[in-house]
Homo-oligomer: 215 residues x 2
DNA sequence: CAGAATCTAATGGAAAACCAGTAGAAAAAA
DNA sequence: TTTTTTCTACTGGTTTTCCATTAGATTCTG
């Protein structure tokens, strides 16, 4: 498993041609690579992986592919080929996303703005069995800054429904009529929502819900 | 001005090392380049431009730099060096953003997922004096989907300031105290803002402002 | 089935937002 | 220097949101 024991095989799963070119250059220059495989879709890569489990050492996995969810794809890769090292690779510096990916068996995470040195180091460390991150990600993991620490509060079905209607600029009365319940009920939902989100008023509610992509 | 009259000088203003590597490779392979300059910050590039207006043919400008607003940077570039062709280059496929950039003198716009061929074609066409886009952007420009058509209402300085404070969950009274004016004044600003945005209440205000990236 | 979670509803009151209009002072643009 | 825009401020409202708390009914789950 040592990175110098034999030339390594790397897969790039990524749909940005420029990024692929850049990675190819850096990897072939600074690592003892035997082969660099590239795939532009999750589905295509999984097909490839099925018949190449034995030989593939590392995957650089863009977690925002057009055809697949990165986290699920990672899980699938590790299920098919537990020996392959998966490194997340994306623009999103989302703490929870990184942790989700790790929980699915990834060995690390690189931001796309990482330097060549960071990428090489990350791959090398991951091949040695370590968990490894690019510098910015290290900071985000270590020091969870305010806006990244907030866990997604668990909302009930009704609350999600009401939240969406609030976001549609409806008043509590309008919502209550549409849902055929008392306006008091909606007021209660509204307050519970704000409490769960830690918002001071609707403005905070909408902002946070937007951030968490709940709308 | 013909692209084949002489080797061209290209600047890449971009902070992702991998993307820079990829671009360098593609550009030097497929275009008659004399020189590829790279800058990682808007400020640094402007300093370079000041003493190299004459020679610089094209700028590939990442509009999401850490230190600068892409649209304003574009305007500044065209002011300093009207002869330099500016091409926007980013992940954002925002119709209004593209149009804003064009209105500031840009000659085109490329998405980062563009192929090598698209990039080369775009640069070539732009050098010939045309406006040019990568394929996905062409579609977005041509077929403005509902949510991308709304024009940015012109806000006054004070209105922007108040809008930001509303988005910070502050009440009119709090804002009025902070700005040392009457709460009535803030109420008026608030109403004018909603009117300009065509919003029914603050919720709409915040949603639209978020969409338009005014926060 | 029993306990937990969710949805429902209410009281009663305070604060904030929203509405329509008016209008003077200050600053910016023509 | 006019003209226009922006910022300011007010009257006198109505509507809506926000707060604290309680509690029955229903639905889900161990």
């Amino acid at each position: 498993m040592s990175p110098h024991s034999r030339p390594i095989v790397i897969a790039i799963v990524e749909d940005h041609p420029i990024v692929i070119e850049g990675l190819r250059k850096i990897l072939s220059r600074d690592l003892p690579v035997q082969e660099i495989v590239e795939h532009h879709t999750g589905a295509g890569f999984l097909r490839y992986l099925a018949s190449n489990k034995q030989t593939l050492d590392v995957v650089l996995l863009d977690i925002t592919l057009p055809d697949a969810n990165g986290v699920e794809l990672c899980a699938e890769i590790k299920r098919l080929s537990p020996g392959t090292v998966v490194l997340g690779f994306s623009n999103h510096s989302d703490r929870s996303l990184v942790l989700q990916l790790l929980s699915q068996g990834a060995s690390g995470y690189l931001l796309k703005n990482a330097t060549a040195a960071e990428i090489i180091q990350c791959i090398t460390e991951a091949l040695q069995g370590q968990i490894s991150f690019s510098d910015q990600i290290k900071q985000i993991i270590a020091k969870p800054s305010a806006n990244q620490l907030k866990p997604i509060p668990p909302l009930t079905k009704r609350e999600k429904q009401v939240l969406r209607m609030i976001a549609d600029e409806k008043t509590s009365t309008e919502i209550s009529e549409e849902l055929m319940v008392s306006p008091f009920t909606i007021e209660t939902h509204r307050r519970n929502l704000m409490q769960k989100f830690g918002a001071k008023n609707v403005v905070g509610l909408i902002k946070i819900a937007t951030e968490l992509r709940l709308l």
